[in-house]
Amino acid sequence: MMLLTCPNCGARNVSEFRYVGEAKSRPDPETATPEQWRRYLYFHRNPAGWISETWYHGSGCRRYFGIERNTVDNAQRSAAGTAGATS
């Protein structure tokens, strides 16, 4: 079991959350080329290390929030400035 720390509810079982994805800025749809848009939608960095992510706490506060997670050991630290954080 993996625990994830929601900024509103505290540490909860990860099954309460939905993984939204890596937090990254969306290119402007008016000016982005198909290549840029495709890269935004389907290409992810998938690093072994710290990554900024967005999660949705569907079984709790029902808020999206950003968090930084180490993909190697699942260590976490807050990321208030992460894109997608709404709490």
């Binding site: 509103n8 509810c9 909860r12 079982n13 099954s15 309460e16 569907g58 079984s59 709790g60 506060c61 029902r62 808020r63 709490s87």
Partner: protein
């Protein structure tokens, strides 16, 4: 003489045995005499309020996320206000008080000038009360939250997965003279209510759970 019977609302939960009608709601008439009981509180009025987490709506409702309040005066007198989420409240009132409560909360929302809403969800939700000293033991089988006094004291609330159903859990101990009995309100979507109740009964068999209300239980 009219041959049309008065309309009856049915709570989300159905249990074998006799039925009774409470303010137009048909619910189980079973009596529970044991130390651990599950009571259907479907007839209670349920309102959800949404608005800014730290605004005048919050001030008027008297509680914030994770806590409950029982206003003694004003339009919410006698109701239980639950801070069920950030900027989200659940207001529970006695059966049949829906009109007054909705008007009262509606006035609070209107007077606030904030972008807020109030919705009557009485018929759309299931509400049960689990009472007894073994209640936290039972809940620990279906819910991953630490229910000790330090984490979930009386008067607190949280939303989590209970038997895999998203449920508002409110600790609202019952006072019987000087004695207090552990009690939790569990509130979920109506369509999940029967499953949740059956899961709680199943998990509570080893603690001698009974379905129904004791004589001392107010609905």
């Amino acid at each position: 003489m009219s041959d049309i019977a008065a309309p009856i609302a049915r709570t989300a939960l159905s249990f074998p045995g006799p039925l009774r009608t409470v303010d137009g709601w048909e619910t189980t008439a079973r009596h529970a005499t044991g130390g651990l009981r599950l009571t259907d509180l479907g007839p209670l009025v349920k309102l959800t309020v949404r608005g800014p987490a730290d605004g005048s709506v919050r001030t008027a409702l008297g509680t914030s996320f994770g806590r409950t309040a029982r206003p003694r005066g004003g339009p919410l007198a006698g109701a239980l206000v639950v801070g069920s989420g950030p900027g989200e409240w659940l207001v529970l009132g006695a059966p049949g008080t829906g009109g007054e409560l909705l008007a009262g909360v509606g006035a609070i929302v209107a007077d606030s000038g904030e972008f807020a809403s109030v919705v009557d969800v009485t018929h759309g939700r299931a509400l049960v009360r689990l009472t007894g000293e073994a209640a936290p033991l039972l809940l620990s089988k279906v819910c991953a939250i630490d229910l000790t006094d330090r984490v979930v004291p009386n008067g607190s609330a949280f939303r989590s997965s209970v038997a895999r159903v998203v449920t508002d859990v409110v600790r609202d101990d019952r006072a019987d003279g000087a004695a207090r009995t552990r009690s939790y309100l569990l509130h979920c979507e109506r369509s999940s209510g029967q499953y949740l109740a059956d899961s709680l009964v199943d998990a509570g068999i080893e603690y001698g759970i009974e379905v129904g209300a004791a004589a001392a239980d107010p609905i």
